[in-house]
Amino acid sequence: MDAKLKETILNPIFKGNPITVLVLGICSSLAVTVTLKGALVMALSVIVVTGISSLILSLLRNTIPGRVRIIVQLVVVAMMVILVDQILKSFEATYAIDKQLSVYIGLIITNCIVMGRIEAFALGNKPWPSFLDGVANGAGYGMILIIVAFFRELLGSGTLFGVDILNWMGYVPNNLVILPPFALILLGCIVWVQRSIQKDLQEK
């Protein structure tokens, strides 16, 4: 694998993470991080949507009329989101989790990461790197989602993946952690950690 491709994959995971560095996709990371299971399914759904939409639009990139390119992107992304939602609803194993995530699966379409990566990368690059870029950005997003959900479920419900971790020893679940503002506080902490490791992000 050449260096450029490697950079495409690794950059969104840490150095150019869509949530902590580009500050995209904040809204859904507040909404679906109450439980780890929800965050995991959401992360996988976003990876599928960003990866495949980037691939399709990169394949179409030379034929798309410039003036309506945003509309074409929107149609393709919306299609992917509806497909993911329909498929999650169809399997016994994922039906309950889809019910729990309810509107947020449908709202992946409003996730700025998806359109942002298509506009910035997929329309100017070959299909394979575009696909990898989409998947990597989805994974970068998913990783933050899972970190936030880990703390929120542990402190807010005393469980992880629904398994009792803290409650048996008399832990009283903290309701503040369940509410969206705490996700923002956690995100702030993650950005803080990242910026102290990665000095070039700090403003002079």
Binding site: V34, T35, N62, T63, I64, P65, G66, R67, V68, I71, V72, V75, V76, A78, M79, I82, L83, Q86, I87, K89, S90, F91, E92, Y95, A96, K99, S102, V103, G156, S157, P173, N175, I178, L179
Partner: protein, 257 residues
């Protein structure tokens, strides 16, 4: 090729939209049967939970087929009544063709009970009688963010609550969502008694229901609301009152006989 001329743009967008629409319509049609089966099994497992056959989590592990088997095995009779408590028609309970009321069907009946512009006819109220003597009826209403619904079962005296299960579309996780996720909230209903003679059939009380000396809830028609979820608790209270009041004639008439 000039991709910026008008004719090209119009044809391009038309083609892509038609292709996507056709694909989605095809996928939606081919998956519909599976989705409906999932929804039906989910509804049935909610009823079985409220009739205290098993917890929702246990039924979830069984899978759809086993849930339907269990229902077909345990159901005594199912029928639809009107506001006067008269039986309108039987609901099929055979394993091949189980008839239940999905949340969508309950929503329609909710409009019919409450009247108003969305009313589409006389209310049809489903009643499910199980072999363990419990009678299960649905409730439906508005929570804070979206619809809430659920099932309550009554013992054979048709007053004492035998169990309850509630579900919601988008209540706040950890707060309003406790109506579904917190088994101890649903357990509060068990043993309480609905008061069908008043319009306020059942109360979910903010600030706490009356307690006896041991701190146990007094047997009445009141339970504690959920802390931090006043709007959801009020919505559930209203939903229960509306629906149980609609069933009142059915429940009380059987008592007189």
């Amino acid at each position: 090729m000039n991709t910026n001329n008008n004719v090209y743009t119009v044809i391009y967008t038309t083609v892509i939209v038609v292709v996507v629409a056709a694909l989605l319509a095809f996928v939606s049609q081919s998956l519909k049967a599976k989705q409906d089966a999932n929804e039906k099994a989910d509804t049935i497992s909610q009823m079985l939970t409220s009739a205290s056959y098993a917890s929702k989590a246990e039924l979830g592990k069984l899978g759809n087929v086993a849930v339907l088997d269990k229902y077909a095995e345990e159901i005594q009779e199912a029928f639809v009544i009107n506001l006067d408590g008269e039986v309108l028609r039987e609901l099929s309970t055979s394993r091949e063709n189980i008839e239940v009321y999905s949340p969508k069907a309950l929503k329609r009946q909710n409009y019919n009970i409450k009247g108003g512009p969305n009313k589409s006819g006389e209310p049809e109220l489903p009643v499910f009688v199980f072999k363990n003597g419990k009678t299960v009826v649905p409730i439906y209403g508005a929570g804070l963010w979206g619809p809430i619904w659920g099932y309550m079962s009554f013992e054979s005296d048709l007053r004492t609550i035998g169990g309850a299960y509630f579900d919601h579309e988008s209540e706040t996780a950890g707060l309003g969502a406790k109506i579904k996720d917190d088994p101890s909230f649903q357990a509060e209903f068990v043993g309480e008694v609905a008061d069908f003679s008043s319009a306020n059939v059942f109360d979910i009380v903010k600030g706490g229901a009356p307690k006896d000396a041991d701190g146990k809830s007094v047997v009445d028609n009141k339970i504690d609301a959920i802390t931090g979820a006043t709007m959801t608790s009020n919505g559930l209270d209203a939903a229960i009152d509306t629906w149980l009041a609609a069933y009142a004639k059915y429940f009380t008439r059987n008592v007189e006989e």
